[in-house]
C-alpha cells in the first residue's frame, strides 16, 4: 500500500511540474499608448494627459486637474474574447459625489451594428493605486472595434490592455469623423455621471460622430485667459462652452465679451456654442444659492444676446444644462446625475444638430 501511495504521489508531482513548465500564459498585455488615443485637443505627444499643462500659461491650481485623463479614450480592434486592463493612478482623493468607476475607472464600448454600445467597466480598487480588472469576457468569436474611456478625475501613470494569449490587437484610425472641443466647469469635467462613458461630452461625441476633447475643470472655467489660450490653439470643427457655471455676474460682465472676441478671431468660421449653466436644484430652498445662480444666469443671458448679434457664428443654448423640474436630475443640487444628462441631451441635441448642420 505504501509503495503504491508513493508512486501515485510521484506521478501527481510530475504532472504538476510538467504542466507548470509548459503552461503558456493565458493573456498578454500591450501598452495602451501603442494603440490609438483619441479625444486629445492637441498633438502634443502626451498620450495620457488631456493637455500639456506646461503650455497655455495654465496657473498652478489648474495643472493637476488638467493632467487628468478626462475624456481620453483608447481605440483598437481585437479578436480576443476577453479584454483586461491593468493601470496605475495617482492618489487623488475621491469626491463624495462620484463613483470610483467614474473617478479612476475605465469604461469599454464595442461597436455593434455600427453603433457604440456599452460592454463593461474596469473597476478600480477603492484603496491603492494599482488596479487590474476584466472589463469583459466570454465574447463571441470575431474581430471587434473597441473604445476604452479613461478615468475622469485622476491621472493615469501607466495603462496596459490585456487580451487572450492567442489573440491579436491593433491600433485603428480614429472612428470619428469630426472633432469638437469642450471647455467648461465640473459639469463638463463629467460630474457626476456614473461612469466615464456617460458624461454628456462622451455621449454627445457618440451621437455627433465626433472626437470630443474635454477641457472641463472642476471649480474652474471663469472665462480665464488660459481657457481662451487653449481654445485659440486648438483646431476643431466646433467649440462648446460651459463658462457660466463658476463665473459670477461680475466676471461675466467683465470678461465674457473679450473672451468671445479672442476665440472668434482665432476661429472665425467655426460654430462657438455657449451653454447656459444649470438652474441649480440647490437653489430651490437655499435663497443665497438661488440668488447667485439667478445672477450668473441673467448676466449670461443679457450679454450673450448682444454677443450673438455681433458674432454670426456664436450661439447660446438656453436652457443649456436642462435637468427637468422635479429635482431628481442632480447628485447634489448642482451636478447632473445620469438622469440629468439624459434630460439635458433630450433638450439640447435637436438645437445642436440644427446649428452643426449649417
Amino acid at each position: 500500500m505504501r509503495s503504491i501511495r508513493r508512486v501515485c504521489t510521484l506521478a501527481v508531482a510530475m504532472i504538476l511540474l510538467s504542466s507548470a513548465a509548459f503552461a503558456a500564459p493565458k493573456y498578454r498585455y500591450v501598452d495602451a499608448t501603442s494603440l490609438t488615443v483619441i479625444n486629445k485637443a492637441q498633438n502634443d505627444g502626451l498620450p495620457l494627459n488631456r493637455i500639456d499643462v506646461e503650455q497655455f500659461d495654465i496657473p498652478k491650481s489648474a495643472k493637476g486637474g488638467l493632467s487628468n485623463t478626462t475624456g481620453l479614450a483608447i481605440v483598437f480592434s481585437t479578436d480576443s474574447r476577453s479584454i483586461r486592463v491593468k493601470w496605475s493612478t495617482t492618489a487623488k482623493r475621491l469626491g463624495s459625489n462620484m463613483t470610483p468607476i467614474f473617478h479612476s475607472g475605465l469604461d469599454l464600448y464595442i461597436k455593434e451594428d455600427g453603433k457604440w454600445m456599452f460592454a463593461g467597466v474596469a473597476r478600480p480598487k477603492t484603496v491603492g493605486q494599482e488596479h487590474e480588472y476584466v472589463a469583459v469576457k466570454s465574447m463571441a468569436v470575431g474581430e471587434k472595434e473597441c473604445m476604452l474611456y479613461l478615468p475622469m478625475f485622476n491621472c493615469v501613470k501607466s495603462l496596459q490592455i490585456g487580451i487572450d494569449a492567442g489573440a491579436t490587437i491593433k491600433a485603428i484610425p480614429t472612428p470619428f469623423k469630426h472633432k469638437i472641443l469642450f471647455v467648461g466647469s465640473s459639469l463638463t469635467h463629467g460630474a457626476s455621471a456614473a461612469r466615464p462613458g456617460l458624461c454628456y461630452v462622451a455621449r454627445m461625441g457618440r451621437m455627433l460622430n465626433a472626437e470630443t476633447p474635454n477641457i472641463g475643470l472642476s471649480g474652474k472655467c471663469k472665462l480665464d485667459d488660459f481657457f481662451a489660450n487653449i481654445v485659440c490653439a486648438t483646431e476643431a470643427d466646433a467649440y462648446f462652452f460651459d463658462t457660466f457655471s463658476n463665473s459670477t455676474k461680475q466676471m461675466i460682465e467683465e470678461r465674457l465679451y473679450n473672451f468671445v472676441k479672442r476665440i472668434v478671431a482665432a476661429h472665425p468660421d467655426k460654430p462657438m456654442i455657449f451653454l447656459q449653466t444649470v438652474k441649480r436644484d440647490s437653489g430651490r430652498f437655499d435663497l443665497g444659492a438661488r440668488k447667485r445662480n439667478d445672477d450668473q444666469r441673467a448676466a449670461a443671458e443679457v450679454l450673450m444676446k448682444q454677443i450673438c448679434k455681433e458674432f454670426k457664428n456664436v450661439y447660446f443654448i438656453n436652457p443649456g444644462f436642462y435637468i427637468g423640474e422635479d429635482g431628481e436630475g442632480t447628485i447634489d443640487g448642482s451636478h447632473l446625475n445620469d438622469l440629468g444628462v439624459e434630460r439635458m441631451l433630450n433638450h439640447t441635441m435637436p438645437k445642436i444638430t440644427k446649428i452643426l448642420k449649417k
Copy 2:
C-alpha cells in the same frame, strides 16, 4: 505713538474677550432618534437599524448588510433656516460603483406645495467615520416639513440634526398613508442611485404616498427562508419582490413556489408584486453572463405564470427593472444608474398603480 498702539491693542483684546464670553452658540443639535423614524419594517425599538438582525434566523453573512440604515428616513418639522447633520458611521468599504453620498451620506427632502422636493445632501467624509455637513442653509422664514434619508450601504452609530439656535424642531407623524415592504437584491438595496432619495424604492414611496421599508440586500435574496420570515412577520399594504436577480434557474425552480406559498399564507389578502430582474447590459457581449441572466429570467417567467394563476393576489411585472435598449441605463452592466431607475419607473408605475387600485 507707542502708548496709543498699546491702548488700541488692549481695546481690541477686550472686545474679543467679551464677545467670546457672551457669544451664544449659533446652532443646537437634537438626537435624530428623538424625532420620527419612518420606513421601518417592524416596531422593534431599533431606530437606526432597518431590521432586528437577531430575529428571523438571519445568517451571519447577511447580518452586517441588514443592519445598514437603508431606506430609513427621519421626518420632522422646523422653522430653522438651516439644517445641519452630524453623524458617525462604521468603516464599511465603499463599492466602486457607488458615490460616498449614496453609501454613507444623507439626503434631505422638504415638502413644497404638497410635494416632497430635494433640498440638499449631507456629504460624508471620504476618509474617516465622523461626518458633519450643512444640508441646506439660507432658507426662507417659515415652518418646513422635512424628510432626511439615511445612508444606503452603511450603519449609523449616532445621528444628530442641527438647527439655528433660536429655532424649534419637532417630531411629526408619518406623512405617508400606506406602507409597502420591499425585499430584494442589490437593485433594491439601491445600487447604484447617486443619492439615497433617488433609489427606486424611495422614489416609489414618494409617488405612492407610502412608507417603504427596504429589505434589499446586496448579493443576496435567493428566495431564502429568512427573507420569507421577514415578509411573513411584517404587516404592510403591499409587498414587492426582487427575488430573481441573484437566484439561479435551479434556485427559482426549487424554491419559488414554496416561498410564494408561505408569504401568501401569512398575508392572503395583500398584493404580492414580483418584479422580473433586469436584462443585464453585461450580457450584450459576455455570452456567459447573458446565458445565466436569460436562464434566470426564463425560469422566473415560466414559474410566475403558473403561480399567478394559482394565487389571485400575486402579480408579475415583466420586464420589471426595465432600463431601455441603448446600454446607458446601468453603472456597471447590472446596477441601474439614475437614468435606469427613471426608465424602470416610467415602465412599471402605470402597471403598479393599476394593481394597487384594485
